[in-house]
Symmetry: C2
Subunit: 662 residues, 2 copies
């Protein structure tokens, strides 16, 4: 009924149901339901050039409802992107195909974000829209002038993070963010009204959004609603009333089409209903040509942009930033460290982080900071970073509000957009609130720096709800996430340098509330090795003390006591397990020699869970930590309560050595 455009939409439907059927796994309902909307968007509005999915000024398209992955695979394929090929699609959800179960940014150019964990795609898109306005403020309309589009389902809108994302986008008046809501009134468990009675448009309006509505199966009406959204200066929600699994004769409009293959007879019926007589994975020439034309729609605009870039006075800076090559991080950092060595400071590592950031943010315009309403506690704001607001998108500091998860997801979006290296702060204990986004930073290879202060019972009186115990090692467990717990000003600076120099994943900086002495007396980026000998034994070596962060100071004191008794002890500072584990075996064996603990006792000291430390102490070593919840009181009293004192540890080490001698 809708001519070639309708056939183009049906091509998406057919590929979706055929690929899911071939894989015997997947979600046909959403692609079939949103095929018409996606066709209008990609054929008439989305600014892109299939020949160059990396074009910096392309519109960003985020499939927040990532389970409908066949929608984006079909779109990328049909518009003529190099990948996925039809073979890739035929291998949907098989090992080796880039067409994974959920869309993965590291598998296919054109996939802007890895989605599937609900709500996060939407929230990452908010970060992309921030990045666009921020870069626009710095580089102007000639270089940066694009939109961010999202397709989201009821799941994305029901998740808590949606509230944070909507609030942030509304507050920052991100008028270039347009969300197409697949309003199909179905969730996995059944009708949406089984679990929700919300007036969603009213909620969006309450946060400063424009809301448009359309029949999601009427191309003209879809276009009208999008035009309405584009005419608004506000971020917009476009409610698309759709039928999930549209075309499937018995399963359309039901959760039966959501997450399972339709089955042969249902597919046959859908082909008949859609008037789609082609064999599986076959796209007729006229449809293919129409889609390829859409894929080339942006070529002229792209070429004009490339001309403007070529002649732009800021070309080098823009290209450098979009490549993610930071200015001389090491140079800036090492100059700053030289100053520390000349004039040592006893400060909390959160303060040390601020001091490092003062130098780094002044030199590196790519850094955009922020905090989830703990600016003065996280020490994340520097002189160089003025507020980024709806009135000043060029600012470099975001007051994220009490939105830890939203902050983390927005940072992912900024990092994925490119041109920005985001960092943001909260308390380490609230890393739990943003943990799903930290995981996505790591999975997506996104350079995001998490500034997590108040990293142990050392925070004192706020008590167990605020004292991290399990958090350090829980974060260490996340693959591709570097967790840093520096012991002083120098290590903090080295951690910042290392975090910024890696471009393929996130780093978490766990920082103290309490003051710590500067233990390092020489430069050398020692921390970058993850673990290193801070002090070598003087008496014959019997002990290796391994510690992180604020407990390195304790280890140094334990060592002094042991040495005074003629017991030689190394102190190994181990600020980053991941980096240490990546060192050559010879280096690791030098720091932690493979000698029987009976001859060389290994001892760990960290004010957190001991599980996992066996890797470094051996099972028969000693581990000092906290395997229960903390308590409320001054930090000094808590360290005593939990036995983390030089006296207590020295005594226990001495006793163990005596037992071994017997």
């Amino acid at each position: 009924m809708q001519g070639i455009e309708g056939d183009c939409a049906n091509a998406i439907r057919a590929l979706a149901m055929d690929a899911v059927e071939a894989a015997n796994s997947g979600h046909p309902g959403m692609p079939m339901g949103m095929a018409d909307v996606a066709t209008v968007l990609w054929q008439r509005y989305l600014k892109f050039d299939a020949a160059d999915p990396h074009w910096a000024d392309r519109d960003r398209f985020v499939l927040s409802a990532g389970h409908g992955s066949m929608l984006i695979y079909a779109l990328l394929h049909l518009t003529g992107h190099a990948r996925p090929t039809i073979d890739d699609i035929e291998a949907f959800r098989q090992v080796g195909s880039p067409c994974a179960g959920h869309p993965e940014n590291f598998e296919l150019p054109g996939i802007e974000a890895t989605t599937g964990p609900l709500g996060q795609g939407f929230a990452m898109a908010v970060g992309m829209a921030i990045a666009e306005r921020h870069l626009n403020a710095h580089f102007g309309d000639d270089l940066v002038d694009h939109r961010t589009w999202v397709i989201a389902g009821d799941g994305c809108l029901m998740e808590g993070i949606n509230h944070e994302a909507v609030g942030l986008a509304g507050h920052l008046k991100l008028g270039r963010l347009n969300v197409l809501w697949d309003d199909n009134r179905i969730t996995i468990d059944g009708a949406v009204d089984l679990s929700s009675s919300e007036d969603i448009p009213a909620r969006y309006r309450a946060s400063g959004w424009h809301v448009a509505e359309c029949d999601g199966h009427d191309m003209a009406d879809i276009a009208r609603a999008i035009d309405e959204a584009l005419a608004s200066d506000l971020p917009s929600l476009i409610r698309c009333r759709t039928i999930i699994g549209k075309g499937a004769p018995t399963k359309a409009g039901t959760s039966g089409s959501h997450g399972s293959p339709l089955g042969a007879s249902e597919i046959e019926g859908a082909r008949a209903a859609l008037g789609w007589s082609h064999a599986p994975f076959v796209v007729p020439d006229d449809v293919r040509e129409a889609w390829l034309r859409a894929g080339k729609r942006g070529a002229d605009v792209h070429a004009a942009w490339a001309d403007r870039l070529a002649n732009h006075s800021d070309r080098e800076t823009f290209e450098r930033r979009m490549r993610g090559d930071l200015p001389d991080v090491a140079g800036v950092g090492e100059a700053y460290i030289a100053g520390l060595l000349a004039d040592p400071k006893t400060v909390a590592t959160r303060k040390a982080s601020e001091m490092a950031l003062e130098a780094l943010t002044a030199a590196i315009p790519d850094l955009v900071g922020g905090s989830a309403d703990l600016t003065g506690s996280n020490n994340t704001k520097t002189k160089a970073t003025q507020a980024l607001t709806a009135e000043n998108y060029g600012g470099r500091y975001i007051y994220y509000g009490i939105r830890e998860f939203g902050m983390a997801a927005a940072m992912n979006g900024m990092a994925l957009h490119g041109g920005i290296v985001p960092y943001g702060g909260t308390f380490l204990v609230f890393s739990d609130y943003c943990r799903p986004a930290i995981r996505l930073s790591a999975l997506q290879n996104a350079r995001v720096v998490y500034v997590m202060t108040h990293d142990s019972i050392g925070l004192g009186e706020d008590g167990p709800t605020h004292q991290p115990i399990e958090h350090l090692t829980s974060l260490r467990l996340i693959p591709n996430c570097d967790v840093w717990r520096p012991c002083d000003t120098v290590e903090t600076a080295e951690a910042w340098i290392a975090a910024l120099e890696r471009s393929d994943g996130p780093s978490v900086l766990a920082l103290s509330r309490q003051n710590l002495p500067q233990l390092r007396t020489a430069a050398g980026m020692e921390a970058a090795r993850g673990g290193y000998r801070l002090l070598a034994a003087e008496a014959p070596r019997r002990v290796i003390l391994i510690a992180t962060g604020s407990e390195v100071e304790i280890a140094v004191k334990v060592r002094a006591r042991l040495e005074a008794e003629g017991i030689g002890a190394d102190v190994v500072s181990m600020p980053c397990w991941e980096r240490f584990d990546a060192q050559p075996a010879t280096y690791r064996a030098d720091i932690l020699p493979d000698i029987d603990p009976a001859a060389l006792l290994r001892v760990s000291i960290e004010a957190g869970a001991t599980l996992g430390w066996e890797r470094y102490t051996m099972v028969n070593g000693l581990r000092f930590g906290i395997d229960r919840y903390g308590a409320s009181g001054p930090a000094k009293d808590l360290y005593a309560k939990f036995g983390l004192t030089p006296e207590n540890i020295t005594r226990a080490v001495r006793e163990r050595l005596q037992v071994q001698e017997k």
Copy 2:
């Protein structure tokens, strides 16, 4: 200006600023700002009896803005609760005082929930309000007829979880939930409008709430607004326009009064402004008497209720349920297990969980289940559990919607309310979404059972966004949280029995999507020991294979191959680390003898992160797992891709043994 009631409010203000000053730590702003509202609530409305804070039909009061803990300590003290004493308050935030930095339910009767992690108190209150209506449906107005009150700040309302809690409460029409919003327009970073532009009342109305408003410093207006809320059948938000730090001469109305001691001169000025001439921690007799009268206000109602209970036909059941003594869990469970042993089943452990739940929910009315929109995948719904809806609060199954965090917090609230043992499901990978609430289950000693299915790459095609890697051990790291990964139908039943029999904390059940053979051939609650010898070596023992969940089947196959080569191997199933670690040393040494790995090689097999397994394998043992992200493909292909096959593991074990022999 407001007579004795105003003096009563000022007593709260004085105690708050004096205690924070003495501790040199804490948050005076909120208690001072909300003192008038709290006074009206506790003196005129809240149903309680200070003589018995455990009275089952008391109103629940949750201080969601937990940093304002001095508010609740002052209220409990002034109304005549046995604790806190004035000495306790003078020792605010010191080790040993029950007046911890944030309110802790395990420290003081009258504190219904541990709060501080923002947004969760509010969301737990939703669970309490559900519990009230549910128990009312079963026991009637004579026994259950109370309200749930919340004091929440802007932080609670800005957090993502608030959206989930508000949506759930509105959908379930929880008219007995009343939230007093401390609308002081201040956050830590400054004015609320630094980070938010939301029309909060409009958002609440969009979710089916009633919104009232008042001047939070006008007692009559506060009462009028509360009366308005009580007249509505909807959950209600009462917007109380307040001044943070009310009374402080220079810091009131600013974030300067939020989280730091006011200082001596500011306190002096506040005393003058409030007309409060008493020394620190001194409460004049007239004020003390007025407050004590408020604490006895509920005594008569309590006595009448006790009479009704004494004569009630359901007294025993009601008392049993409120005590948390479950009916014969072991008996029901063991009868069910006997059936399994007689008729073994090869099913996924998620299905095995459903089978166990069929027996348990039929016998134990206390169980109230649910899922975050994955009912058919989590297998959480049984015949005995019909839907709990606004039309049928007596139902025992909650369609939580796509609200993992809100579900978990609501379950905490139900468990804390008493009378209910909640369980709820999502995918294990999304345990990250509810992790902050799982931590609070554990910290609060709340019996909540998390049914986490799709527990590894075994889920297959959904790919890395949905495949847990780090989650099992991340959860194991949370103190007081039992993590179960059963290997078959029998262990799954044993895990359920153990989870229900513990009354002092949560349990997480990690369950497979894929089918697993029934390996157990005898009863005996073996799993309850955490780890046990499933199969003993037949040939001379050289190897101990330790595995969990779906990998126990692999261990059994590896053992068969090794034994065929004359290499004796035990198979240890280790479904719960926490339980195994709690066994006597003699038991643990029997299962995992302290013998040099060169003589007895220990091998772990688990389709997740290997970090932490050193505790059981020794560092020189072998660990088979996955320390990177998963992939998309059929489960069988993924196990091969990640080397988790009997062939691969057997080969590696054999090679290691040969090396050791050299």
